[in-house]
Amino acid sequence: MTDIAHHIPEALLASYVSGTLAQPFALVVAAHVSICEECRANLAAHEAVGGALLDAFDPISITDDLRNRVMAGLDDDIVPEPVRPRGDNTYPTPVLEALGSKPPKWRSLGPGAKQCILNAGKDGSVRLLYIAPGFAVPDHTHGGLELTLVLQGAFKDETGRFARGDLEVADDTLEHTPVAEEGLPCICLAATDAPLKFSAFVPRLLQPLFRI
């Protein structure tokens, strides 16, 4: 786990810490941090900035009523928090939680490719992608930001090689064709802020067929 080469950019970490990062991207950040010590330490640094800001706020007085309520609350029974699943060699904890601790339900995306959508909403979507060795990631739109975190295997594209733990940050300026390496199938966690439209997505995949 020491050879992760592609990490989370600062602006993404700051946005995650502040809570403004859309859910699909926040899942990718949480997944990467789960398996990357460097970014875990970096995240802690951003949290420390938040702490320093909290320290610097002018105190505004608190009512006795609130103070009494909180002190009385110390006697409440503490409900133990649910035990979180432990990350395995492929899926880190937050991904297992998004899967409801069940194996992914893969749906075909064409030759050599499958996907399992974890979350899709107005602020984007996040899915697992399964690419068989030697196959390319199916044609996909980059509406805006796209984050791809490798969980198993590796892929290569014009910008470099990405193996377990590596995060590729792409925007609409990047034209790339990621191809899975030989060996293990490549499993990625991919988030995009382009809305997920099957009606548009499916014909787009079929387009080449109709052109023939």
């Binding site: 809570g19 875990r40 970096n42 938040g50 609350g73 432990r86 930001l145």
Partner: protein
């Protein structure tokens, strides 16, 4: 942990450790009196009304009591830890969804503390505070907006006046130390 070492920690760290290790209510009251008014300042800045701010403060401070077992002064200073709890709670309130969280690292089995590491984290926090206080008003305002959720990711990315690098350089050494420590635990 030796007594000599513990007496050099900040008051906040001392109180938090007493809450964590001895469920000390007097220490918790001190933490409350220190942090609740600052949380209130932060929440008001965030546009929370008085009653809503009170609810969040109550939840956050009770979480501090209930989650004290997961506080590790070798990895985070008290303010940063409480800031995170507060942001999570605010996100719950505003968005009604939970932010995905990284897997937690296992807590060390013993409560022995590496005093040097804790002091390092505290010193970095102090130098961060100093760095933020030295920013010009516009920059300081931008940093606040970025960390209090008033800037989107693309705004943070595009904002060239945001001194993320300058601020983060204050904690570079601490980062190295923390990274080293985390690697040792895997």
């Amino acid at each position: 942990m030796t007594c000599d070492m513990s007496t050099t920690f900040t008051e906040q760290t001392e109180w938090m450790l007493k809450v964590r290790d001895a469920r000390d209510r007097a220490a918790f009251a001190k933490l409350f009196d220190h942090f609740a008014p600052r949380l209130r300042g932060m929440l008001m800045k965030n546009g929370f009304g008085a009653a809503q701010a009170d609810d969040v403060i109550q939840d956050v401070m009770l979480s501090v009591w209930r989650k004290a077992h997961s506080f590790n002064p070798e990895r985070a200073n008290v303010s940063g830890w409480i800031f995170q709890i507060a942001r999570n709670r605010q996100i719950d309130v505003i968005r009604k969804d939970r932010r995905p969280m990284p897997e937690e690292l296992a807590m060390p089995e013993s409560t022995d503390i590496d005093g040097e590491q804790v002091l390092g984290i505290e010193q970095e926090a102090a130098s961060l505070r100093a760095a933020i206080s030295r920013l010009n008003p516009e920059q300081r305002d931008l940093v606040q907006k970025a960390y209090l959720g008033e800037l989107s990711h693309s705004e943070i990315q595009a904002e060239t006046g945001l001194p993320l690098g300058t601020i983060k350089s204050r904690i570079r050494l601490g980062l190295e130390r923390l990274r080293h420590e985390l690697k040792g635990e895997r």
